[in-house]
């Protein structure tokens, strides 16, 4: 099986869907002539031409809304935000227009659009460029939120997102674009609302999504090696719809649950998972759910400060030990 980078997997997903459906187009800042700010759309302008791979001006509200309007008449726009921090400039289009047109029209219209780009703290970009937007968009009825952790998942989920008849927020991570993984040559799709157990285990359930799956995996490996702790890592893959069944089944087995996110703890995705787990697994839990999240502060620039704010392997490993009352 070919081993490719995450950015190539995303590129393949877009190219394959554009080849099969003439209504799919990509629009965003620097996606065409510049070949993508992070080279995700490399070569696509040459392949599809300037009507289908379209450079937009720096005008997020404008081109996000353009995408919604085009989707209302059946086109399937892929709108790239250079980062989802900039989607906040287009917030009204993303949370008020895209997910509500179906509802306000009494189901007469669909908005089959994908908003994709990077989310997460990045490399010392300061407070405004470092948003982790997963909780913000997961909060909104009418949106779907997808966040892959491997090249395989990225390709299968993005193809599903492009074919989906609802607006999809597709969250990528700058530090993961170069990550490599096996991606089959034959076509495949990954259904939304299906979590993936990235690492089976018996001692503690750890729930992650996107980049935090990698952090959780590294923590699990370390705990296995140093203390023989056997951690199960669940990759949610989609936050809305969320595969609660997989989480609950795992927690019923292990009795412990840790959530890991790079967003904030206050009203975060982990808070929602904790509420669901305590509601449905109250008698199975041997401790309260432990949440690992960014510290509840704006993202600082200075590297040691940033590393202190964003949860790393050590913090996750400590949280797991705390969750299972490990004395070591």
């Amino acid at each position: 099986m070919p081993v490719i980078q995450m950015r190539e997997a995303l590129n393949q997903a877009m190219c394959e869907e554009m080849e099969r459906d003439p209504d799919v187009f990509l629009m965003g800042e620097e996606v065409a002539e510049y070949d993508g700010a992070y080279k995700v759309s490399q070569g696509m302008l040459a392949k599809f031409g300037p009507m289908r791979v379209v450079d937009s001006p720096i005008s997020e509200c404008g081109f996000a809304g353009l995408g919604v309007g085009a989707a209302m008449v059946g086109m399937r726009p892929i709108i790239e935000f250079m980062t989802f921090s900039f989607s906040l400039v287009a917030f009204d289009q993303v949370v008020n227009n895209a997910p509500k047109v179906r509802h306000m029209s009494g189901g007469q219209l669909s908005v089959p659009i994908v908003f994709r780009g990077i989310s997460g703290p990045g490399q010392q970009l300061g407070a405004t460029h470092s948003w982790t937007v997963d909780a913000i968009y997961t909060h909104v009825p009418g949106l779907k939120v997808v966040i892959p952790s491997t090249p395989y998942d990225a390709k299968g989920l993005l193809k599903t997102a492009i074919r989906d008849n609802d607006p999809v927020i597709f969250l990528e991570n700058e530090s993961m674009y170069g990550n490599r993984g096996e991606v089959p040559e034959e076509e495949y799709l990954i259904e939304f609302g299906r979590a993936d157990i990235k690492r089976p285990g018996t001692d503690c359930t750890v729930v992650g999504w996107g980049h935090t799956v990698l952090t959780a995996m590294a923590a699990a490996e370390e705990l296995e090696k140093s203390h023989g702790i056997n951690v199960e890592v669940i990759d949610l893959r989609t936050l809305r719809p969320m595969d609660l069944d997989s989480i609950l089944t795992s927690v019923k087995k292990t009795g412990y649950c840790v959530t890991v996110e790079e967003g904030y703890p206050t009203c975060g995705v982990g808070a929602e998972i904790a509420a669901q787990v305590q509601q449905h697994c109250f008698d199975d839990l041997d401790n309260s759910v432990v949440r690992v999240a960014a510290l509840d502060v704006p993202m600082p620039y200075s590297k040691p400060l940033l590393q202190h704010v964003v949860p790393g392997v050590e913090r996750v490993a400590e949280a797991i030990k705390q969750a299972i009352y490990f004395q070591g």
Binding site: G65, G69, S110
Partner: protein, 337 residues
């Protein structure tokens, strides 16, 4: 200064079209007056923005385009929906929050939609639908279709960022969009002179976005028709977008809850002297298509039509409570369902 000539169109409406527009304008007015009553009777909730006084804008402009052209508007949307040919019964149903409403009671006054008639709403955040209109224009150009997109908004919208971003994109990509600002003088209670640094609105897009601007008397149905016909021809020929400053006036408040302290009764009375229905009535009388008896017969007939639709919708059932879970996703999902 960018100078672009938009050639005048010679095409004149037929007598049948003129009569149809007259009936539509009377229908819109009577519909709106019934809405005012129903609002006071608390049959209509939320915000309700009446189109009384502005009827010629929607009727003349929509009369100038084809049924497959796209139409999108803001929250003062009753007139456009009726001019587009939507039946008034599902409109009353929508206003009364009934299942028979055009949006099954989920949208309300500000969100009338009719996908089959290419009427794309009914949008309530000021200026937020203007980028959507650009998307409609983008789809037309992308699919190489012979269509235009008409986008209506008020003078209150043109200082929103979404307006400027949208018009820049429409100008940049040369999209077949007609942007109509219905300048009724007030963004809610703030006069345009207190809101816009440049109040000659037609000048605001040519130099800025390469979109020629024209002004037109929105109290004159025929002037609206001629201007929009020529604008549509200009767009269809691949020249890009047009911006129209439509000078109009609303007789009623911004919404039903507006005490109108910002203007005088005399100002309203002055505009009512140029009433759009009265003006078309005069033309039709000169053409001997209307006389006093026929005017009152049409008024009675439309009154009966409005009352019948209102009564039918009023008697309709409200939606099932289970309906809150539909029309959100193509396929609903949990966990909260």
């Amino acid at each position: 200064m960018t100078t672009v000539t938009v050639p005048a169109v010679k095409a004149e409406p037929t007598d049948a079209e003129l009569m149809q527009w007259y009936r539509q304008m009377v229908l819109i007015r009577q519909f709106e007056l019934r809405c005012a009553q129903s609002y006071q009777q608390q049959k209509i909730g939320g915000f309700c923005h009446l189109y009384v006084g502005q009827e010629a804008v929607a009727v003349g402009s929509i009369g100038a385009v084809r049924p497959d052209d796209y139409i999108i508007t803001a929250y003062r949307d009753h007139g456009h929906a009726i001019a587009r040919g939507m039946d008034i019964y599902p409109l009353f149903g929508e206003l009364y929050g009934k299942r028979s409403g055009c949006s099954h009671g989920k949208g309300g006054s500000m969100h009338f939609f009719d996908a089959e008639k290419n009427f794309f709403g009914g949008h309530a955040i000021v200026g937020a639908h203007i980028p959507l209109a650009v998307g409609l224009g983008w789809a037309i150009k992308y699919r190489k279709q012979d269509r235009v997109a008409l986008c209506y908004f008020g003078d209150g919208a043109i200082n929103q960022g979404s307006f400027h971003e949208a018009l820049n994109l429409a100008g940049l990509f040369k999209l077949p969009c007609i942007f109509l600002v219905e300048n009724n003088g007030y963004g809610m209670g703030t006069h345009v002179h207190r809101a816009s640094a440049v109040t000659d609105l037609k000048l605001r897009t040519a130099d800025a976005y390469g979109i020629p601007g024209k002004d037109v008397d929105g109290m004159d149905c025929l002037a609206m028709y001629r201007m929009v016909r020529s604008a549509a021809d200009y767009c269809r020929a691949g020249n890009g977008s047009i911006f129209l400053e439509v000078k109009t006036y609303r007789y009623r408040g911004h919404s039903m809850s507006d005490p109108q302290k910002y203007r005088t009764r005399e100002e309203v009375a002055e505009f009512q002297k140029h009433d759009p229905i009265g003006r078309l009535e005069k033309i039709l009388q000169e053409k001997r298509l209307l006389d006093d008896a026929k005017i009152s017969a049409i008024a009675d007939e439309i009154h009966r039509e409005v009352e019948a639709a209102h009564e039918k919708a009023d008697a309709d059932p409200t939606p099932d409570l289970e309906d809150v879970w539909t029309d959100i996703y193509a396929q609903p999902f949990g966990p909260y369902r």
